[in-house]
């Protein structure tokens, strides 16, 4: 990461990415705090909770694994549940990969590990507006580092101060509202709205499916429905890379 950092234009995009993530901070901070508290309140000793925050870096998978850890489920079941909860990230990676081939494998690995829901949605939105803009690795990394700092800081605070933060505050709902803020503009087009509706219905039906598989099923069905609506309502146009 040392060589691109010397390029002022690269640094400017990184900074811009960091700042573009800031509006989501209240949601990320609340969510990180709640996840930190939830880990400790589920009975996990503080050092292990800190280790999980530092390494796992995936709120939904962490929260999905907590009841299983508390119930002393087999490690394989815990790992499989986290894997299925995280499988939507494979779809994210498939969506962003073509825009990142020009960068080194090491940088792609770092970007990939750090790119969660918020960074992915913001990146796809900017790519949709501007196409392959220059220094997109820097901008995307800027958003992910901002997300990482906010998440890790608030998670550690939640772990350390768990005894003083009642879960009844309902703080995690702030994180949900941040996601709502990202999804509403995506539903302005008919195809996006249809896909979201289908994904929501499947997520409802599958909310109690094993290994949190309802989430992945919702994403896949939603994408299929959105594509169907898109192809039947718009005339196909050739759009190379746009």
């Amino acid at each position: 990461m040392s060589s691109p950092w010397k390029d002022p234009a690269w640094r400017a995009e990184f900074r811009r990415g960091f700042l573009d993530m800031m509006p989501a901070f209240p949601g990320i901070l609340a969510w990180g705090l709640v996840t930190g508290v939830a880990m400790v309140k589920s009975g996990m000793p503080v050092p292990y909770a800190l280790l999980m925050t530092a390494l796992a870096y995936a709120g939904s998978a962490q929260l999905a694994s907590l009841p299983l850890i508390a119930a002393a489920a087999p490690v394989g079941v815990i790992g499989l549940t986290a894997l299925v909860t995280n499988l939507r990230f494979v779809i994210y990676a498939a969506a962003i990969r073509t825009w990142l081939w020009t960068y080194s494998a090491r940088r792609r690995a770092l970007i990939g590990y750090l790119t969660g829901d918020f960074s992915f949605v913001l990146f796809m939105a900017r790519i949709g507006r501007e196409g392959a803009f220059p220094h997109r690795d820097a901008w995307l990394l800027g958003t992910t580092v901002a997300n990482w700092v906010a998440w890790q800081g608030s998670s550690v605070l939640g772990i350390v101060a768990a005894a003083f933060i009642p879960t009844e505050w309902g703080l995690q709902f702030a994180g949900t509202l941040a996601l709502v803020a990202l999804v509403v503009p995506l539903c302005r087009q008919r195809a996006g709205a249809a896909g979201a509706l289908a994904a929501g219905v499947v997520a409802m039906i599958g909310h109690a499916w094993p290994f949190k598989s309802g989430l992945l099923a919702g994403v896949v069905v939603g994408i299929v429905v959105a594509t169907f609506v898109d192809e039947t309502t718009t005339t196909p146009v050739a759009e190379p890379g746009a």
Partner: protein, 110 residues
Amino acid sequence: MTELSPVELILAIVSVAISTLVTRAGLLVFGERLTLSHRVDTALRFAPACALTALIVPEVLYPAGVLELSMANPRLPATIIAAIFLLWRQSIIGAIVIGMIVYGLIRFAL
């Protein structure tokens, strides 16, 4: 206290971490030879809208693991009002503030 032994607990944590790394970075690092059809690549544009909704819906409608479709579930009116606000003004912070106020008021009133 959890009943997993320290070793099992560390293995569980590491398995969650590996699932994050593999799902997020796997295709970006090793997927160069994977070529998807133009149709699939186009379809992936809709991944954000679908993934976000699939994350949101259980959080709003199943606050305690049970379906709460009535307006007495404070998350439902709060989400609807935040969404209406967002149609008018695209502000993440505004949506969080308004949604949390509605959520808090209804919880306080009930």
